[in-house]
Symmetry: C2
Subunit: 337 residues, 2 copies
């Protein structure tokens, strides 16, 4: 049996969207998968009743967690002060090997802090990183780090290249993923001090399909240096700025079309265009490097995003992502000293 724990209190419309997303996911998942809804039991029960009769209750376990971490709570204080929160309880299940994955649309900082505290990092992993999937004209591009770790040194950027490569192989189905280093030019001498050093390290790192420096323009195209771009490694500061910029630009663009030519949005052919714009809010982003599987969703996630995040978690568990990351970092010499 494989058990996926879902923070039922995380999103802006919790627990309703979580319950609806769970119900939809169960329809597609094989019988060996079970969902653990973590949160205030009475509220979850009520949401299950509202969601209607076609939910397979035998595959849902409710795990009571009376406290809720708010979006404005300070992460560390929230984790220490609310040990019975849905985040702490949900991750605690995985820590005690009573669960195989944890999904939350709640306070991202609190989920990251609690994951690192409770699950700990794999030996050899220096910093955790968020894998943010950017839509592109081709295949989506995985940007690591999307905001978990800032002020990174060069060796940490190499670590993100490893984390992203394993995830791209296991979950995105890319057997030999290319890795680019986010920079402001392609030439060797371009970049800030950390990036210049990382570029030299990455060129010598075995096991990484490093294609070199890439630029911001390459991400929306999905190609760099004549190849498909699978993984981009960068400091969480720049990754987070670009991620939020991108999501917002997509929303602004859609709202401009709505204002100027609203019927265009109804055109069936536009679905393929618009999908690219709000893809980012429709999945879950893995927190990579911790011992276990943690998927972080947007606070504004609709039920469909929760369902997609469950699918991502399932793929991560099935592919043994966490074991594969452990193995990647256990290999001596993978990161040049």
């Amino acid at each position: 049996m494989i058990r996926i724990a879902l923070d039922a209190m995380g999103s802006d419309k919790a627990p309703q969207v979580e319950v609806e997303g769970a119900a939809e996911a169960l329809k597609e998942l094989p019988p060996e998968f079970q969902l653990q809804l973590v949160g205030r039991k009475a509220e979850i029960e009520a949401a299950l009743s509202r969601a209607g009769g076609d939910i397979d209750r035998s595959r849902i376990e409710i795990v009571d967690a009376p406290d809720v971490v708010g979006m404005g709570d300070k992460p560390l204080a929230a984790i220490r002060g609310k040990p019975r929160s849905s985040i702490a309880v949900g991750l605690g299940l995985q820590q005690k090997e009573k669960s195989d994955a944890f999904i939350s649309a709640g306070n991202t900082g609190a989920v990251m802090a609690a994951s690192t505290l409770l699950l700990r990092l794999h030996p050899g992993v220096q910093r955790a990183a968020i894998g943010a999937l950017f839509p592109s004209a081709g295949q989506p591009v995985l940007v690591v780090d999307g905001g978990a770790s800032i002020d990174c040194d060069a060796r940490e950027l190499v670590g993100f290249a490893h984390l992203g490569s394993v995830y791209a192989r296991d979950v995105l189905g890319r057997p030999n993923p290319t890795v680019g280093l986010l920079n402001i030019g392609e030439e060797d001498e371009k970049g800030n001090a950390v990036v210049k050093e990382a570029h030299q390290l990455l060129k010598q790192t075995p096991g990484i399909n490093y294609i070199g420096n890439i630029e911001g323009r390459d991400i929306p195209v999905g190609e760099a240096r004549g190849q498909r771009l699978d993984v981009v490694t960068c400091d969480g500061f720049v990754g987070n700025v670009v991620l939020k910029f991108y999501e917002s630009a997509g929303r602004v663009f859609v709202s401009l079309i709505k204002r100027e030519a609203p019927d265009v949005l109804q055109r069936p052919e536009m679905a393929n265009v618009l999908k690219v714009l709000d893809y980012a809010t429709y999945g879950g982003a893995p927190l990579l490097g911790v011992q276990g599987v943690v998927i972080i969703c947007h606070g504004a996630s609709p039920a469909e995003a929760i369902k997609n995040a469950i699918r991502v978690a399932v793929q991560a568990v099935r592919s043994h992502l966490s074991d594969d990351i452990a193995a990647e970092f256990a290999h001596d010499g993978k990161i040049p000293a």
Copy 2:
């Protein structure tokens, strides 16, 4: 008389688009403005002939410069090795007070290096910065620095806030421009070490209308913290990554619509939407901090972008941008020690 020097050899389609842009600009400019076309005399003459008869040749001076800096040339080596390049000659005119502004769509690194060498920075300015204008749902947002200076310290980010504020007042017509610090969250404790320090400095800096930390999502909206966002200060690394990402995302989006629903692009109401997407390539970006006026254009600039860059240069000269920057930095105590 006001003289605007234009690098006629800069763009991918030089000198034709430069000559056409110059011809268009002259039709709108009052008689006291004169253009100096800098580059290979014979090629410029030929382009002028091709451009046809309605060019007021009495207001165009051709300044011969036999060397051309290529897009792949190393900036410093190119400036030192090609003293008779259009970039060096064009900036030399301003250095010798024979010109009031310089515009180039050539090698950006070479233009920056030559500007700093020949014109020098204003006293008190630590680093030069590119002011990149981002379209938004509201007014365009000026991001400083767009890629001239990386590995900045906190005081340099305060300097960019001053440079951007003067430009917003003089050229964008915003009397009391707001300034936001690009960060990954709004709270005081967010950010990398440099940004956290810059946030504290900016709060104490007189003469800056500082509204606090802003996020990547605020730029496309054009608002932050409930106010119109005029100027964003950031390290040139992140500014350049976001700028290139933005330009590329716009192109990708248009190409997706072209593939899926090509007639949508022909709709007249869509012009207002599409304008927002390629605005960035249609102007010139000022290099701020040098003693003089320097406007940098995209290598792929069409004639219309050259014309717009000339208009920007004219506005910078008319508003005494360079003097105003000198005055801003001459005030003791503007940047906390």
